[in-house]
Symmetry: C2
Amino acid sequence: MANSDEGQGATIYEVAQRAGVSIATVSRALRNTGPVSAGTREKVLRAVEELSFTPSRLGVSLAQGRHAANGIVFPDLSGPYFAEVLLGYEEVASELGRSVLILSTRGRAAVQDLVRDLVGRVDGMVIFGRTVEDAVVDEIVRSRTPLVLLARAPVERADAVCSENTASAEALTAHLLGHGYSTFAMAGDDDGGDVTQRWTGVRRVLSDHGIRPPEPLPCEFTVEGGYEAGRTLLAGKAGKAGKAGRAGKAGGAGRAGGAGRPQAVICADDQVALGVILAAEELGLDVPGDVAVTGWDDIMAARHARPALTTVRQPMRLLGASAARALDELIRGTRTVPKSEILPTQLIVRSSCGPHPLEEK
Amino acid sequence: MANSDEGQGATIYEVAQRAGVSIATVSRALRNTGPVSAGTREKVLRAVEELSFTPSRLGVSLAQGRHAANGIVFPDLSGPYFAEVLLGYEEVASELGRSVLILSTRGRAAVQDLVRDLVGRVDGMVIFGRTVEDAVVDEIVRSRTPLVLLARAPVERADAVCSENTASAEALTAHLLGHGYSTFAMAGDDDGGDVTQRWTGVRRVLSDHGIRPPEPLPCEFTVEGGYEAGRTLLAGKAGKAGKAGRAGKAGGAGRAGGAGRPQAVICADDQVALGVILAAEELGLDVPGDVAVTGWDDIMAARHARPALTTVRQPMRLLGASAARALDELIRGTRTVPKSEILPTQLIVRSSCGPHPLEEK
DNA sequence: TTGTACGCGTTATCAA
DNA sequence: TTGATAACGCGTACAA
């Protein structure tokens, strides 16, 4: 009866009493932080066992002045991208002995307060993309909380981890030009982060080839969002809004594919691309025969889609893992100068961008 | 200069000193937990502002004896299912003023220790499916840590939340029988949880109609896993292993679709079903013309797949949200008797199971 | 209305 | 080798 009550809240004092020693000795015996005679250790361990004592995390943290926990704030988990990054992060953090606290900002009103609370619970933070305002980032930096920015423009005194965007966007665009396409659309609005960098690369290459870059069509970064965008971009008419209309008129060789329909749709990510392909099929268009489509990320569905998606592979797991490692260095003080890490990406050419002799390994 | 050093570690003592009051008054002023004169409050708030004081979470938690945090342990985040549940959980937990600590068990060796550590950091736990052994669950229950089992068989003195499986599996199977199919395959091994319940329903209905239920073909619950399973199940020959061979021979009217190829493949979840469809296409089989395929969960891709997937909709967000609410009741002591909640599911008939006059709303 | 003092559960310092 | 005791930062009876 008493037995079933044990095992929940034994303190170090009870252990000490039961073992007939002081709490200092118990602590030393458990943490190997000082000399303890064999016999005493034996007694202590027995008492620990009998009481099934586990040191209170709060007590340990308070005394050590550390949480042994990291936080991460991300926008959403819909789609494989954030989930993969989160998994990579949690895995490494766990290896390094740190728990992970999460905060999703999707549809949250008082993000600032939630982030502040989170900061108070951890030894270091990862902030994903543009989930919080610059002011909050500044606040965290000033609080001397180790901070890693993930896929977000670097700031002073914080680490940054992201994957390469602009150069691979240029390579992607050049590849499409190599297919002979001359009219383009971009699906997915600037986000001030990764996507903006991608569009920068696309725009640069198009401009260099005398093609006026189109305005990106805003859409949610989901399959459904891509589907909506696809319906708009690929409809028989030249889009519905003024913006699309003008783009069709002002763009490069705009008449090649019919009334303003682009020959290639460059999508902000794979999910959007999958949505665009669905829309194309529904409109009776062949991909890539009537319109080429490209994605970004190389999620698993990209390989299995029909047609298989030409995309840019992003090391999602590694992004999370790298952030966890960088944060660990910052927390332990192994490194004091901030670093900015850019992970390499890889152009993956499959069939959604058109016929070609190359084969994916 | 001194200014930039402030803002990180001010304690309640410094605030009290600056405001010329005692720490008790500071605490009262901040927490509205006792009478404080207007003037005094003013002084305190100013001092708080100047020092940008934030009460230490550790101090608060230690004094209050609560973490204001929940834990959740799940197997993986690949695929939308777990991610959606996690989002629903985090959202509600956050609304209820609790942080969320996560632990993924995928590929982890010392799960037990990680779970124990987690338990020490939270006021309550959610355990997803069969991520941890029964012994660990027992340990948590005995430690009097409020516990909610998610999609796992209930145990004494812990809550359980899951979605209805068996009845909807029966409905799904009956629907397939209505299409006239008589040879079946099941993709995805028993997991001792949800899937086992689904197979129970399938088996019951098949047996009731004089059809010997097939052995489920084990596979990973991913698109790739489903693809592998599909290649095995739909190959021209009657599978490769003895098991499949026997099933083809012993099953119902096994010759209808060729050398043992089933007329319908019932998949453990949507991802598996998508993989099976890919395999079918690659083998030149038409879905549902040559073989019907069904999934489970109704992830977003199920609606967008071609053919659109007949499946059973599971309220993923709600699963997480309900677990968070149940856990909250347990933690606050609002409810002391355990409850077992079964969320309703819904058969979603689309085109992957064959032609029919019904239309999805 | 305010202040004193204790408790929360550790770790770690310093004497013994 | 061991023990008494001071932090750690806060909440809150209880006394004033």
